[in-house]
Symmetry: C2
């Protein structure tokens, strides 16, 4: 058996998220169906760096799987893409050691959240950004973001109450603000992100930007260790899993 | 009655083109349905600068309509958008003279055609570009484009044989080539474009770029005045009606 690592991209619009669910179209189910086809019906289990929710996109999700097939890396890309639907694409395949694990070996991730700061709807952005038509104080948002970066912090308040993981300490290295015309991209790089963490951070930063909260509130919210004290969860279509790091990052 | 001019944008993916057709979802039908709703069921006819085909997008299509309602321009935008589906958006409304006509007064148009020059599928580009995975000689394509710009020419060979207009002489001012990473955008500006003209020009330029034809063939194709001598019609999803000019342009 050979273990393969693959980088994949998907438009999350028409998927019920990454993970297999009964009777739902998911990314994992599409991948496993195509791999089964390539292995004469034999089940091939796919493991990802982490789940993504319904409507969330990926530009650089990482998966691994084992196969007895010895196909050159670039031929895997062609073969898989020829069978996959066109909202899911294999960008890269490489042979890795049998000890490689897409989830356990990840040392960091980059997510991006796209906000369209416009009173006008844009038909081309509706599935790939969250439109926020109200005034925003970007300086206050930048200041607020500094309270949650640069050191290990307990993000219990910034993750879904449904989260199963016990250790909720994560380190966000940077939150960058990239403003291009009326499109604001928030770029999050860190050693790990809890369930809904980026979307709750974005929702809370928006409440700072609109003046409902002050930047300093971020510290008080962290201290509460209670989801109910943070802001709303921003909608899924603005979120992209951009990159997964397996070596040094930042 | 007041005549209104509006600039609209649409993602053409889920429309059977601009023009009303029985039992099909079209841009014009959606607009007229919403205007009828705003006028207590009374029919309001919408005229556009021109049709777009199924799958073709618009960033700046122009329409006009007449209404007895005296609503401030920005309130028209809000009212129409609140009723329209989210793949069709009103960008701008303004009062115009009753003699204004979206089609007859247009003095020029800009179209853009987006080509993804990549062997890899991109789930985020599949509806908004034509993926061309083969080698292209851009210099030859640029050279070929020069044979069809800058003077009035008979584009009979470069329009659908179904075209009803008699006068097929048009002037293309410029064809610009904008290469950004693996995305090639061809920008066409001219005083008018015949049915399928941009898509046939793109298809023919691709045949020059791939070496199947030489740049000088463009002149021979024009001289034939016969659609069968030009190249294939490039697919619709790469095409955007970008702007309609009512004054000097270029």
């Amino acid at each position: 058996m050979q273990r393969y690592k693959a980088i994949i991209a998907y438009d999350g619009t028409d998927f019920f998220g990454y993970q297999v669910q009964p009777n739902k179209r998911t990314v994992q189910a599409e991948l496993e169906a195509v791999l089964a086809k390539m292995h004469k019906g034999r089940e091939v289990k796919v493991s990802a760096s982490g789940r993504t929710d319904a409507g969330v996109h990926a530009k650089g999700q990482v998966i691994h799987f084992d196969s007895p097939l010895l196909i050159p890396d670039d031929k895997w890309v062609v073969a898989l893409n020829s069978l996959l639907p066109d909202d899911l694409s294999i960008l890269h395949v490489e042979k890795v050691s049998p000890s490689f694990h897409a989830r356990y070996d990840a040392v960091g991730k980059e997510y991006r959240y796209r906000l369209l700061l416009s009173k006008k709807r844009d038909p081309f952005e509706r599935k790939f950004s969250y439109r926020y038509p109200y005034a925003l104080d970007l300086a206050a948002m930048r200041q607020a973001s500094q309270y949650v970066v640069g050191q290990p912090l307990d993000f219990t308040s910034f993750c879904s109450a449904k989260t199963e993981v016990v250790d909720k300490v994560r380190t966000i290295e940077t939150i960058d603000f990239l403003l291009d015309d009326d499109l604001l991209t928030l770029r999050f790089v860190g050693n790990g992100f809890l369930y809904n963490m980026v979307r709750i951070l974005v929702g809370t930063l928006l409440e700072v930007g609109s003046g409902e909260r002050s930047p300093e509130d971020m510290t008080a919210i962290l201290a509460k260790k209670d989801r109910r004290f943070a802001g709303k969860t921003a909608p899924p279509q603005g979120l992209f899993l951009w990159k997964v790091f397996y070596e040094k990052y930042g």
